[in-house]
Amino acid sequence: MDALVVLIPLLPLLAAIVIGIGHIFGWLKGEISEAATADIAKGTLLISSLLALALLTGDFLDKNTGYYSIGQWLSSDTLNIRINFISTGFNVVLASLFAVLLCVVSHFSVAYLHREAGYHRFFFILCLFASAMLQLVLSANAVGTFMGWELAGFCSYLLIGYAYNRPNASKNATRVFVTNRIGDAGFILGMGLTYAWTGNVNWAHLNAMASQLPSGQITSIGLCFCIAIFAKSAQIPFTPWLARAIEGPTPSSAIFYGAVMVHAGVYLLILLQPIFEQALLPLILIGVFGLLTAVYSFIVGLTQTDVKNSLIFAVTGQLGLMFLECSLGWWQLASWHLCAHASVRCLQILNAPALMHQVYNSPITPVSASVANNRWLYVAALQRFWLDPLADWALVRPIRRLAHDLAYFDDHVIDRLMGVPKPAINAISSLAQFEQLHNDQTASSLSPQFVRSSGIVGRITQQSASLIHWFENRMVLRGIGKDAIDYGRQLGHVANKIERLLLGPRYLVLFVFITLLVAF
């Protein structure tokens, strides 16, 4: 029975590979092949969900051992990573639910995306995503989960940019991708620390060690995974990425941001329950940020005027509550809440285009009159508490300026020092150059040479005379007026520039970072 668990993420992966290769080689192309692509995707997802349900039944009947390993993947010194899966408990429940929802959404997309230029691409990504999510919830070790985690994020990027000819879509896709990388840094760090301190990357091992690790280590691991969890499940301060993610087709919005992917963070939190129960600080942080996110989303959600954004903030609100529940120790409730929420939002977002017809005769309750005229709060809510501009202000722009400075430094200092080969043009590449050359030739033939000489002494005399002549000519005769002042001014400019640069907050921050790095 346990062996089934391998096939659940594997089948969608195979489907993705088949569709991908078929599409690249032109076997699956255009309207004619739609049925083939759809059948492959729908078929494998159906089998996956049936397998997951079978596994779930097995688990109910106590037929599962709870762990299945197909073998060694990586082994180096003490590092030992197996390809292994969890085949019992919450993981299997979640895998079944996700598989069923993925199956439903793929069925929905068959008609919904008919005749779209990106039809095959969509199903390729959907299958890849399905595989990633199922791997994420079923893997028994951190590395396996991380692979699913990354791949799911990547698929999300691809589908936000589904209509890549719209600049807004590609821009938002990139922003979401980059934001999520912050969370990944946390995950990787957490994973590294786990290995360093427990010598193993299996979740079960980590959880078992929870009570034995010193509290400092537990807190560090907890904090690292906190970042990953916050980013993936769009908690403050990462919340704005979710609202940027609704550029893709409706079914992908439903499955990624309503039903499945946003819950990955909560899943990881519940998976690491033993760790977080030992780590007080991360747990408090989770509660505080969960509550903040819930309140934030509620207030912002009140002012959202388009259906998808309105639903997205409702989603983050409930995610925040799930975090709060976990922090309060209501882990069971959070698990149920996760599953319930995924089912409800999936249908709601799939049905979003019809909201206006469903709410006929049931208008939304306006905010109470006492709040309605609070301009400050209204603007803050409408502008989503400026989280995005704040991130721009505090991170994006300083980093861009830093990059600009570095490019300048590279171009003006390093390249000149190193003597990068100049393009092989002594030749003429513009007519103005040609003209200049032309004029110079005529000019130089006119001006008499300063001294003529022969012999070594003569040469030396000639050189030094030329030098003195040059100095006299440039610095003294024309000089005081022109060159000397120019050079002086340029020097001043450079000094100013360096001073201004060094005083810019970005450099201060950079120095702090470097100091920290050195200290570590």
């Binding site: 439903v104 008919h114 005749r115 209509a163 719209r166 807004n168 879509a169 609704i246 550029e247 087709p249 079914p251 309140v295 989303s297 509620f298 959600g301 009140l302 002012t303 959202q304 005027t305 388009d306 259906v307 998808k308 309105s310 409702a314 609100g317 409930q318 809440h337 319930a340 929420h341 089912s343 249908l347 799939l350 049905n351 285009p353 019809a354 909201l355 206006m356 017809h357 709410v359 006929y360 005769n361 049931s362 939304i364 309750t365 709040v371 309605a372 609070n374 301009r375 400050w376 603007v379 502008q383 400026w386 202000w393 043009i425 513009s430 007519l431 150059q433 040609f434 003209e435 032309h438």
Partner: protein, 1087 residues
């Protein structure tokens, strides 16, 4: 005082400008009230061709299909040579041989060249493209691939090696035209040979009187700067200027702000919290008060934002004037500038404008937005951001004079920037320019580098690789085009000897004059003519074949449908099944314009064409004796509404209450989701049954009678007897049903129900303002069944037999269901006839579904009628289906006349059918009324489909799959885009973009008089927005109306039309449009 006067004059000027701008913006209503209208309604006073030309000049949006599509039609036989010839003659292209020379022994005709230019692509290509064609495409080694085989044979027949034909032709063409084909690669310019440099240098010197090259460059840049600055207002805004010079689009920052505030102010029920105080302050006023709390300007470090916000005046017009003055836009350019701004986000500007123009619009939102508010906000935000970009890049303020002063001092920078962001620099220059703009920023730094680069750019531009001026004949334009033309004319190298250079230049001149716009006109005309010919042939051949020219026999039943093209198929199948049934068509509000309030409705809706304002209201109430049922119904309805409130609104609005709700309802939601996806039809049936068992179906009736004494108010409740009689008589006269009444006469309104479809209203009845026409049918039937009304009708010479009963019904065009009204009032003696009619209708439902399936890719391939109906029903219930039905797609013609004109022919659901009997209307008075009502509705539907198909990206609303409903007003793409107007791609993908053929059965003299009387019809018909033709009721001759020439007799084809045995026979196995055909007629004497 003078100042005040001046200010008032300025305000008036702005107000007038705003009025004008309204005409070029989309006129689409909020999406729940979607009504088809001419997309270019603001240009309707021009002719169709002029309107498209001036619209495209204003917005650079083309209103024709891409030329490639027309070429496909040509190759598929959907346009033939005869059509093209006729189109040429329509547009006054005549045969002329002047100066064109002798080709293959015959004088060459201009039309021949035009024809080749039309069918084969003879446009100029870029130098790089030419090089690619020569080196990679081997264009010089072989004959062109698109040569027709006859021409190819003719060319190959010459005693010359096949491989040598093309190269020799190319060489002699070039020498004849005295030009060279230099195979230069852009990168070659990095290292010019001395000869080349000297050569070009000499040329450059010659052209510019020995001015140094750098000066020449500066002069050119200065000219470019002048051009760019002078185009502000006319074709770009300052945002466009900054975009052209920095590649930064300030709209990326302004758009979200603007959209958020507009959507919040106009939202109709998505948000719980909308812009405070919008009701009494207006959009601008409310924004001004809240904007002070916005931290964005601080976070984005916008220069002087506090000052700019502080000086905002109270009045939006003042604000507009203030900002325009600050930006230093020349006052004579103000109207154009404002229009340009409005057109940068046409969807939102259009919606604001629509709300401003339609004061009577019933909305839950009390905001009164105006275009002035919108533009004042836009201008303020623009100013903030322009300042920011200009400060950051050039350390100047964002206004005209500063920009002008800066760039006239830094022309090299201008040259580099303009070329870089136009995107037409070769890679080696683009790379350098990019590096320079990022690292140096402006010419204040590294001036020398900017100048060197500008010189490089200038050299590139004058190298012949840059296609700077395509007017100058060169190998890539003149050479290439003539090379292709010669091959298509079967010209050999030695034939060229007989031609002079003037001949060739004359050919080129012809090609130049025959530009894309001209070609599009010809294509569209020919495309329409092809359908017209087939359509007229069928109508002509059908003369005296159709039934119900006169009702000598009493029909078994009469069914009056909406004129809708979708009903054509349904009617045809019904009549084929029982030839003794007569069907009629009329605008689907059946002459009863009313405000209607249904039993479960919360607000009344106008059920009549959008141009009519209803003066009467009708209400649906429970019948007497239904009190208890109604009570239960209301109770359940209340709970249902409450439940909906919790589930659809609460789950997204309330954080805390939705927490238990989600946890409890999740199993229900999951099973609902599974059922809805996997067994949609059953799920829908179960829900309906549940609802009806719970909510007790209440028997209702309509309140439509008013006493004579009712005083005139805005909308009077009900109609007086006289008004009822007048409406009934008017309607019956209009459709010619004044005698020969059947035992059962059914009025069949229609509507559409589909899932998950923001554009639902676009599928409903166009004659009922995008709503269902059932209530109109119901109220009409109720009126005409009253003995009192029948008596009043008899006084007006319409005698309805006592045994005739009228029934109201509604046809759902999506799932083919038919809902009957007030059956309990029907006397028992009509039951048998009714049962019979129902059976016949059931057949028509199945066959209509069957006929529809042939155009649906996911429908079963060869369904039985029963399977077809099952599929159609399932499709309508499926919430993943973005094509629930075909809508008006493929509509192409409208026939106003007796059913006899069209009965007996197959029109593939492409024709609006409006019943009218010319024999009862010798003066044409009825016809005039019909045309005034039907013309705009039919043309509106047709033109909206036309434009949404021709250019779905810009005139339609794109693909449905990323749509996001905003404020219940319209759809956006993703989270924050312009409102998309027009029809989605999924609705129009099988539509045939052609203008409506309006065929009227009447005498030409009658039409001529009407045309002379009615300006609105003259605008539509004379302007070529639809094509008018007339069929003589007696002779059957068809006359085509030409605005400049009047009615011209149309010549029928000589070959007889094939006759199919049935509709099924006409369409079976076909998935593409089917040309009109004749159908075998059943024998039915007397009809």
């Amino acid at each position: 005082m003078v100042n005040n006067l001046n200010a008032d004059a300025l305000k008036t000027q702005i107000q007038q400008a705003l009025q004008q701008i309204g005409h070029v913006l989309p006129g689409q209503a909020p999406i729940m009230d979607f009504v088809h209208h001419n997309t270019l309604h603001g240009f309707q006073h021009l002719t169709f061709d002029e309107a498209l030309a001036s619209y495209s000049q204003l917005t650079s949006i083309s209103g024709y299909l891409p030329e490639g599509r027309y070429r496909e039609f040509y190759h598929a036989g959907r346009i033939n040579d005869a059509d093209l010839a006729a189109a040429f003659s329509d547009y006054g292209y005549v045969q002329t041989q002047a100066n064109l020379g002798i080709v293959n022994g015959k004088p060459l005709d201009a039309l021949t060249i035009y024809r080749i230019a039309l069918i084969y692509d003879l446009t100029a290509i870029s130098t790089s493209h030419l090089n690619w064609q020569i080196q990679e495409g081997h264009a010089l080694d072989a004959l062109q691939a698109d040569l027709p085989s006859a021409i190819r044979q003719q060319l190959l027949a010459q005693p010359l090696a096949a491989k040598a034909i093309a190269p020799r032709l190319w060489q002699s063409l070039l020498s004849k035209l005295e030009m060279e084909c230099a195979a230069l690669h852009p990168e070659d310019l990095l290292d010019l040979s001395i000869e080349q440099a000297e050569d070009w240098f000499a040329q450059a010197h010659e052209c510019h009187d020995g001015l140094p090259v750098h000066q020449q460059m500066l002069k050119q840049a200065e000219l470019g700067l002048e051009n760019l600055l002078s185009s502000i207002g006319d074709s770009i805004s300052l945002r466009g200027l900054i975009l052209a010079l920095t590649g930064i689009d300030i709209l990326d920052f302004v758009r979200p702000q603007l959209i958020r505030i507009c959507a919040s102010a106009m939202d109709e029920g998505v948000a719980a919290w909308q812009l405070p105080e919008r009701g009494h302050l207006g959009l601008y006023g409310a924004w001004r008060l809240t904007a002070g709390y916005d931290v964005n300007p601080f976070l984005y470090e916008l220069p002087d934002w506090l000052g700019i916000m502080a000086e905002l005046p109270e009045d939006p017009l003042d604000a507009i004037i203030l900002q325009l003055k600050h930006l230093e836009i020349a006052p004579d350019k103000w109207p154009a500038y404002l229009q340009r701004l409005a057109l940068e986000l046409p969807g939102w500007s259009g919606m604001v404008n629509w709300r401003e123009q339609n004061h009577n619009y019933q909305s839950s939102n009390d905001a009164k937005p105006a275009l002035a508010d919108y533009l004042a906000i836009r201008l303020t935000l623009d100013r903030l951001w322009l300042n920011q970009i200009c400060r950051e890049t050039w350390l100047i303020e964002g206004k005209m004079s500063r920009l002008q002063a800066y760039f006239s001092k830094n022309l090299s920078e201008f040259m580099v920037r303009e070329c870089l962001y136009q995107g037409n620099l070769p890679e080696y220059l683009a790379h350098q320019a990019d590096a320079l703009t990022t690292l140096s920023g402006s010419e204040r730094h590294d001036a020398e580098q900017w100048q060197v680069l500008a010189d490089l750019v200038w050299t590139w531009q004058h190298s012949g690789l840059a296609n700077l001026d395509s007017q100058k004949p060169s190998a890539n334009n003149a050479g290439w085009r003539l090379f292709r033309l010669c091959q298509h004319l079967a010209i050999h190298q030695h034939d060229l000897d007989n031609l002079s250079q003037e001949n060739l230049l004359a050919w080129l001149a012809l090609l130049d004059s025959f530009d894309l716009n001209q070609r599009n006109k010809i294509w569209l005309n020919a495309y329409e003519r092809h359908y017209q010919t087939a359509f007229f042939n069928a109508v002509h051949a059908n003369h005296n074949r159709g039934r119900w020219l006169k009702r000598n026999l009493r029909p078994d039943a009469q069914v009056i449908f909406c004129m809708d093209d979708r009903e054509e198929g349904f009617r045809r199948h019904l009549e084929e099944f029982n030839p003794a049934i007569e069907t009629l068509g009329a605008a689907g509000f059946f002459g009863v314009a009313m405000d209607y309030l249904g039993l479960d409705d919360s607000k009344p809706a106008a059920l009549c064409p959008v141009v009519v304002t209803p003066e009467h209201s009708v209400q649906e109430v429970a019948r007497p004796g239904q009190e208890s049922a109604q009570k239960q119904h209301l109770r359940v309805q209340h709970w249902l509404n409450q439940g909906r409130q919790w589930l659809t609104q609460g789950l997204r609005r309330n954080l805390v209450t939705s927490f238990p709700l989600i946890n409890i309802t999740a199993p229900f939601y999951l099973s609902h989701l599974l059922a809805k996806s996997l067994i949609p039809k059953h799920q829908q049936d179960i829900t309906t049954v549940l609802k009806y068992t719970l909510a007790a179906k209440v028997k209702t009736q309509l309140l439509y009678n008013a006493a004579e004494t009712d005083i005139a108010t805005h909308t009077k409740p009900g109609f007086t007897d006289a008004e009822q009689a007048e409406r009934v008589a008017g309607f019956l006269r209009n459709c010619g049903l004044t005698y020969g009444f059947a035992e059962l006469t059914v009025l069949m309104g229609h509507g559409s129900a589909s899932q998950n479809n923001p554009h639902l209203a676009a599928y409903d009845c166009g004659a009922c303002s995008g709503r269902h026409g059932g209530p109109n049918a119901r109220v009409f039937a109720a009126m005409v069944n009253r003995p009192k009304i029948r008596q009043l009708l008899a006084e007006r010479d319409i005698i309805i037999p006592a045994d005739t009963w009228f029934l109201g019904a509604e046809h759902n065009t999506c799932n083919e269901n038919i809902t009957w009204y007030d059956l309990e009032d029907m006397p028992a003696n009509h039951q048998a006839a009714f049962k019979k009619l129902q059976t016949q209708l059931r057949y028509a439902q199945q066959m209509s579904a069957h006929e529809r399936c042939r155009r649906l890719a996911s429908a079963p391939q060869k369904p039985t009628p029963k399977q077809a109906l099952a599929h159609i029903k399932e499709r309508a219930a499926d919430f993943s289906q973005v094509r629930p039905e075909l809508g008006h797609a493929t509509n192409a013609a409208a026939v106003v006349g007796r059913r006899a004109v069209t009965q007996g022919a197959f029109f593939d659901r492409r024709v609006f059918l409006i019943s009218y009997d010319p024999t009862q209307d010798p003066e044409g008075l009825l016809l005039e009324g019909i045309l005034l009502a039907v013309g705009p509705v039919g043309a509106g539907i047709n033109l909206e489909y036309y434009f949404s198909t021709a250019n779905n990206d810009r005139l339609g609303c794109g693909s449905k799959i990323t749509h996001n409903v905003a404020g219940f007003l319209g759809v956006m793409e993703g989270g924050c885009s312009d409102l998309r107007t027009g029809l989605p791609q999924q609705m129009v993908e099988i539509h045939e973009a052609m203008r409506l053929q309006l065929l009227i059965e009447a005498k030409t003299t009658v039409l001529e008089q009407i045309y002379a009387r009615q300006a609105s019809l003259r605008e539509l018909i004379g302007g070529g927005w639809l094509h008018l033709s007339v069929k003589d009721p007696d002779s059957g001759e068809i006359f085509v109306f030409k605005p400049d020439k009047g009615f011209m007799l149309w010549q029928a084809a000589e070959t007889a039309m094939p006759i199919c045995s049935s509709s099924l026979d006409c369409y079976q196995g076909q998935h593409q449009p089917v040309a009109p055909k004749l159908i075998q007629q059943a024998q039915l004497s007397g009809a």
